[in-house]
């Protein structure tokens, strides 16, 4: 599989692109400078670097700090140009062995990092930087500090680390570099491909409609000039006139019928087409979301993913069903009108056509102005909703402190403020439209004035304009407004649609990080031996959460994982089920590297019980067999019995048919926990992971869960994380994890004997327990 390789490349490229586009700093350390630093170090490579973007006068500037295996270099240049050609810049290099500590003084927008040697000597380096450089600088600090503490961290690929760190805040806010609008729209249109016939049909109908609309005014003119006037002048008999009138009326009627038929075809074809494209996008999006690794969901907010699948695709439907074709129709109509008017009478035509660009310009200008006006309104409005979001969830606090009046006042001030701005906005747009209409009326008057002199020429001259032509003109004029308005709205529509398309494509363009090999091994069945071989892991590239963890767990052992929060306990369990891939070392299940194992197949044989279990919308029975739908009812009940859930389920009026989940029956925390235990053990997994399974329930419930757990751990390899050490009393071994390392391991008795961290924790909890028991 070539994917992962190209993927890393594109992420770095993407980060570099973000840096080039959004910042004033280079996307990587200038090659010339890096060469010179490496030359100064005797060709040892730069392992990590960062930019300090403030100088000692607190001006924006560029100072690079580079870290090698044995050295640190600091390169400053006043004019900020490192092309490698100029005079050798001040590169100050010192040995890493001289560093005794790194100290940071954080400020509001500037952090000062001091690299210290012996306390009597001046600082080895003082670096000042804004928050944008903070991650990259913290990487440098981390590696130096780890080295001081005795752990060598070898950073690889400094360009990637630097680009990733600098681009990260921007990527988190936007998550992708905005491509050109045209590219995004083109990509969106490519989804129309499978529906080519419909597209052609819809657009043909729209074109036909537009062209047909141009005919009735001409017919009216013809009717006046060739029927009404000759009849009045006596050159046409009544019978002849009536016959011709009948033809004209019939033609107009036919046109109108055809037009509405066309409209029907257009609306139906394109609405359905748009819905299909939206469905395709949603399907692709949802399927892709399911394929993505766990890391994606920790980076992107749930709400954001939901919006992308639901309302963003809906917006795209709107564009394909209506926006696209209506814009096209408007443009076509404008062109058609222009041609017809100029051909039928170029002088009058010019009166109408010449000011056209001016009108479009005024409209676009107005749209832009309204955008800033509404931006201001939006800001005021968000201040109003902020108060709501603030107080409604905190209502009990408001009431407890008797602050209702003040809250009312706070809301009213902002509400009035927002209203003031909305009214300003209304004043502006209400002024514009009558003004624009007035301009158009002025054109009408101009046409009238101009036409009248030609309709009623001096005596002896033949009129150069007929009444029919004039009437046709007036009718055409009335048709101008609609398309012009449409064009005015186009810019806003395009920007909304491209944003929506952008957000959708962004998810589609994310690649899963954990990918199975081409021919994965299937362990049937898993025995349950779990081996960590010097595993290092970090959720980002430099900070390691696990720093060389090794252990070997026999099938059937129960391991208790103990340690402070953030020490890496949950990370260990995440790695066993391969939610993430290790950075260094390897994990073996039954002697096979997890990266070689079919991950789906593996996960079916691992049961997981989490602190706050999620139940899906459906019956309790469905929830229990969520991972194993083919399970029989007997198996479901068995699992529920083992999990101590059967009794409370039977006590419910709807028994196992009780609907739970968001809109269903609300189970208590302990009940949900027991359902989730039943779910985890239904498939008789060989490995069971219990992540704080009993931490959020009361003592009585804990006892019931504990009882259930003691039954389910029998004969399985179990990894249990717990803060309450009493829940781990059956563990065959305990691992104390601190700061990414296993610092103690052994049985309860051995660890108490050792009198280390575990013993301390145990005594503390014991004392607390006694206190509460009193």
């Amino acid at each position: 599989m070539l994917r992962p390789a190209t993927q890393t490349e594109t992420t770095t490229d993407k980060d570099a692109r973000i840096i080039r586009r959004y910042t004033n700093q280079p996307a990587q350390m200038p090659a010339g400078l890096r060469d010179r630093i490496e030359a100064a170090w005797g060709d040892r490579p730069v392992q990590l670097y960062a930019l300090a973007d403030l100088n000692e006068r607190m001006e924006l500037d560029q100072t690079w700090v580079a870290l090698g295996s044995d050295h640190v270099a600091v390169a400053t240049e006043a004019n900020g140009v490192f092309d490698g050609n100029g005079k050798p810049e001040a590169i100050r290099s010192f040995e890493r062995a001289r560093i005794k500590s790194v100290r940071e003084t954080p400020g509001l927008s500037c952090t000062v990092m001091t690299i210290l040697g012996e306390s009597h000597e001046p600082a080895l380096a003082v670096l000042r930087y804004t928050h944008r450089q903070r991650r990259a600088m913290e990487n440098v600090k981390f590696v130096i500090q780890e080295a001081i503490a005795g752990n060598r961290v070898e950073a690889k690929d400094p360009d990637r680390l630097y680009a990733e760190s600098v681009a990260q805040p921007i990527r988190e806010a936007q998550a992708s570099v905005s491509a050109k609008r045209a590219t995004v729209i083109r990509r969106l249109l490519s989804y129309l491909g499978p529906y080519r016939v419909r597209v052609v049909l819809g657009f043909a109908a729209a074109t036909l409609m537009t062209v047909l609309m141009l005919v009735p005014p001409s017919l009216t003119g013809y009717f006046i000039d060739s029927v009404v006037k000759p009849f009045e002048g006596g050159t046409l008999t009544r019978a002849q006139a009536l016959q011709m009138a009948g033809l004209v009326v019939a033609a107009i009627a036919a046109l109108l019928v055809i037009r509405e038929l066309g409209l029907w075809v257009r609306l139906r074809t394109l609405a359905i087409l748009g819905e299909n494209v939206a469905r395709d996008l949603r399907r692709e999006l949802y399927a892709h979301v399911q394929r993505l690794s766990v890391s994606f969901f920790s980076k992107m907010k749930t709400g954001s993913i939901i919006t992308r699948v639901s309302s963003d695709t809906d917006r795209l439907w709107d564009f394909i069903a209506f926006g696209l074709v209506e814009t096209g129709q408007a443009a076509l109509m404008l062109v058609g009108l222009t041609v017809v008017l100029l051909v039928s009478d170029w002088q009058l035509g010019l009166v109408l056509v010449l000011p056209l660009p001016l009108i479009v310009w005024a409209l676009c200008g107005n749209t832009k102005r309204m955008r800033t006006v509404f931006l201001r309104c939006w800001r005021k409005w968000s201040a109003v909703t902020e108060v709501l979001a603030d107080t409604i969830p905190g209502m009990r606090v408001v009431k407890a402190f008797n602050r209702e009046e003040q809250e009312k006042e706070r809301f009213n001030v902002r509400n009035d403020d927002a209203t003031k701005f909305f009214n300003t906005a209304h004043t502006i747009w209400t002024r514009f439209w009558p003004l624009l209409m007035l301009g158009l009326h002025a054109l009408t008057i101009a046409v009238w004035v101009f036409a009248v002199t030609r309709l009623l020429p001096r005596a002896g001259l033949a009129p150069s304009l007929t009444a029919g032509q004039f009437v046709a003109f007036l009718l055409y004029m009335g048709m101008f407004l609609g398309p012009i308005e449409m064009i005015g709205m186009m810019t806003r529509m395009i920007s909304r649609v491209s944003s929506a398309a952008h957000r959708v494509f962004e998810v589609l363009d994310t690649n899963p990080e954990v990918v199975d090999v081409a021919e994965p091994t299937r362990l049937e069945p898993v025995q349950g031996r779990v081996t960590f071989d010097n595993v290092t892991f970090g959720y980002d590239s430099v900070r390691q959460v696990l720093k060389g963890v090794s252990f070997d767990v026999e099938p059937g052992e129960m391991i208790g994982l103990v340690g402070p929060s953030g020490a890496g306990k949950t990370t260990v369990t995440n790695l066993i089920v391969r939610f993430y891939d290790v950075v260094g070392g390897r994990i073996l299940i039954d002697g096979v590297d997890v990266r070689e194992i079919d991950s789906g197949h593996l996960r079916r044989q691992v049961g997981v019980v989490l602190q706050d279990p999620h139940l899906f919308c459906g019956t309790i029975a469905d929830n229990i067999r969520y991972g194993f739908p083919e399970a029989s009812i007997e198996q479901v009940i068995d699992a529920a019995r083992t999990a101590n859930a059967h009794d409370f389920v039977c006590a419910l009026p709807h028994g196992y048919d009780t609907i739970v989940g968001e809109r269903g029956h609300t189970l208590s925390g302990g009940e949900r926990q027991r359902v989730s235990i039943a779910r985890a053990i239904l498939n008789n997994p060989r490995i069971l992971i219990l992540d704080e399974a009993t931490s959020s329930v009361d003592t009585e419930t804990e006892r019931k869960i504990q009882e259930a757990l003691e039954r389910v751990v029998e004969g399985r390899t179990v990894f249990a994380i717990a803060h309450r050490l009493s829940t781990l009393r059956r563990a065959t071994r305990l691992f104390v994890i601190e700061n990414g390392r296993i610092t103690e391991q052994g049985t309860h008795a051995e660890l108490i004997e050792k009198d280390g961290t575990y013993a301390k924790l145990f005594r503390m909890q014991h004392e607390l327990h006694e206190m509460f028991a009193l």
Partner: protein, 203 residues
Amino acid sequence: MSDMQSATRPEPEADLSTLRLERRADGRIWLTRDGDNDPWYEAAVQAAKQAKNEGQKEGEKKTVDTDSTADGVAVRIAPCFPWSRTRQYISVRTFDGKELVLIPSLDALADETRRLVEAALAEIGFVLEMTRVLEIRTEVEIRNWRVETKQGPCTFQTKLDEWPHPLPDGTFVLRDVAGNLFLIPDPKTLDSQSRKLLWPFVG
């Protein structure tokens, strides 16, 4: 806990004019001894030692203590109210995060120490100060600002729902996606182009 603190810290009414801070060659601020009987210094040394011992993690290599010498303790200055009371309630802390002194008001300090704290506060309170707005462009999910600041030209980004926060003196503070703060002066003092671009965001 409270017993421990009163043991290591002088009484609140103790004379702050004997508190002595100096900037050393390493670029940091150090709390040093003022005369033979300086309660601040004695307390600081004790507190720093205690914090160091508590902070030392088990199983980790003992590192060289770079934050104290025979005649001083390296400290950090942390203002408690960086926006609303810039000259009051300044906390002097060790690099391990232990408070040594809480200065109720800068006026109580000796001249030299006061000037030093003022300079340190200026450094901590550093924010980029806008002098001119060149462009504000709305993109997908992000707003791109191109500005000139007192510190040099700068491009930064904010989220679309991030708005400048008004301050009592008519200026505004804006936070970018990286966490940097930008001070926008009273728009009245800016050129017309900047004012026009800022119009939707301030006032």
